[in-house]
Amino acid sequence: MTQPCIYLDYAASTPVDPRVAEAMIECLKAADTHGNPSSMGHEFGRKARALVEKARAQVANAIGAQPQAIVWTSGATESNNLALFGAAQLHADKGRHIVSSKTEHKAVLDPLKQLERQGFTVTYLKPQSNGIVAPEQVAEALRPDTVLVSLMHVNNEIGVIQDVGAVGRLCRERGILFHVDAAQSIGKVDVDVEAMHIDLLSMTAHKVYGPKGIGALYVRRNPPLALRPLLFGGGQEGGLRSGTLPTHQIVGMGAAFALAAAEREADTARLRVLRERLWRGIQEVGQVDLNGDPEQRVANVLNVSFHGVEGESLQFALRELAVSTGAACSSGSDEGSYVLRALGRNDQLAQSSLRFSLGRFTTEADIDAAIAAVQREVPRLREIAKLSS
């Protein structure tokens, strides 16, 4: 890399907060925390277990849950898999119909496709053109044999916030399990599993300034919800997730979630101002569309479609900015983002869309540099691509 690259891809992953890194390093360096957290017969194991339980309380606190309801996993993908397969397969005797949406992350859509192969039926709701799935749409899709509803809280590509509280209420009234993929919402919006009537909630550390490779699933405890595990072995995590607990990773996730809870309001207030500054600057090039609802959205994500430019050229021209075209997970194909297409954008416009996602370490100077790059490159590319008749 010969020139500095400005990181505006926080929705893909965040840098580890130095305070989180410090807590993890302390855990790794300590002379007495390397025991297996399940080895309660000696002091080393008990020390490690204490760190794990402290972190469990920190994660639980960030979502208004009891610590016992938190199950450690390797990340949101595993949490989603455990929630969907675990709930659907164990409760299949009650019905085999699931409701979700077309704009879920692949880590929900692909497990659902697999469940379809296993005989489940899935209704994929098409959101409105603002990216929001109306709770009434969910209500209308429910059937007597519906056992599970899975809806993401904050969309990873466009940042819109679904009304999971309203959906949770109508699921609870009907005795239907409700799973929420909250990978993008911790530290950005309020999450309260009790108030929102959520039965299962997927989380990850690496989008909240924690380390990669660690996540958690909230599993309702009152009344207790049974799941079928994906992994079998030592029976850790109440048998729901076998495998030795990675103490330092868990410590990192706990520290990250504690910071997210403590600093959410200050972070979001600052980021909202920066995002609006970026949006105003981008709008000056004209012929741009904001993707997703302008109000019901997180403070740090801005997804913009640029008319009159080709997507790949746009991304290469703006290579001094680390941004995403569509979702980072699905980029690399020529196909426009399935989320934007579900919102009604045509293929070409979906390809010419960029997701700018800001975070804790984004500065005003970063935003001004991004604006300058967009204002320089977009008109230049439009000139090349004009093809006037």
Partner: protein, 126 residues
């Protein structure tokens, strides 16, 4: 900044493309157009002809960085060339020069179509 997806030649011509634009319609200006946004690339070529030779050429393209670089290099190459050159020009040498990924070959075939369309225009008018 280097990017493994694009060679230095592509990067150079993408950042500083030569001959972008369109020559105004005139008796000595020929043009060719091919492709569509749906196909992944749309090219428009125009060139001025004098004494059976191209004296200047311009391009516009809605396409990827490889397509932009291709338009830039091709329009440089066209200066001094005759109708026979347009009739026989093939995308392959340029594809090799630009290390074109095989998945993008269709886009350079579109460019070849635009060159042929310009040749047809030349043959019709002179």
């Amino acid at each position: 900044m280097s990017d493994p997806a694009y060679s230095n030649v592509v990067t150079e011509h993408f950042d500083r493309p030569r001959n972008v634009g369109v020559l105004a319609t005139a008796p000595d200006v020929i043009s060719g157009r091919a492709g569509s946004r749906e196909q992944g690339a749309e090219f428009r070529l125009t060139a001025r002809v004098a004494e059976d030779r191209i004296v200047e050429a311009r391009f516009q393209v809605f396409g990827c960085p490889h397509c932009v670089a291709a338009g830039s290099i091709l329009t440089d190459t066209l200066v001094g060339k005759d109708l026979a050159f347009l009739r026989t020009w093939s995308w392959r040498e340029l594809a090799s020069q630009l290390e074109l990924p095989t998945t993008k070959r269709g886009r350079f075939l579109i460019l070849e179509d635009a060159v042929r369309a310009m040749a047809d225009d030349w043959a019709r008018r002179f």
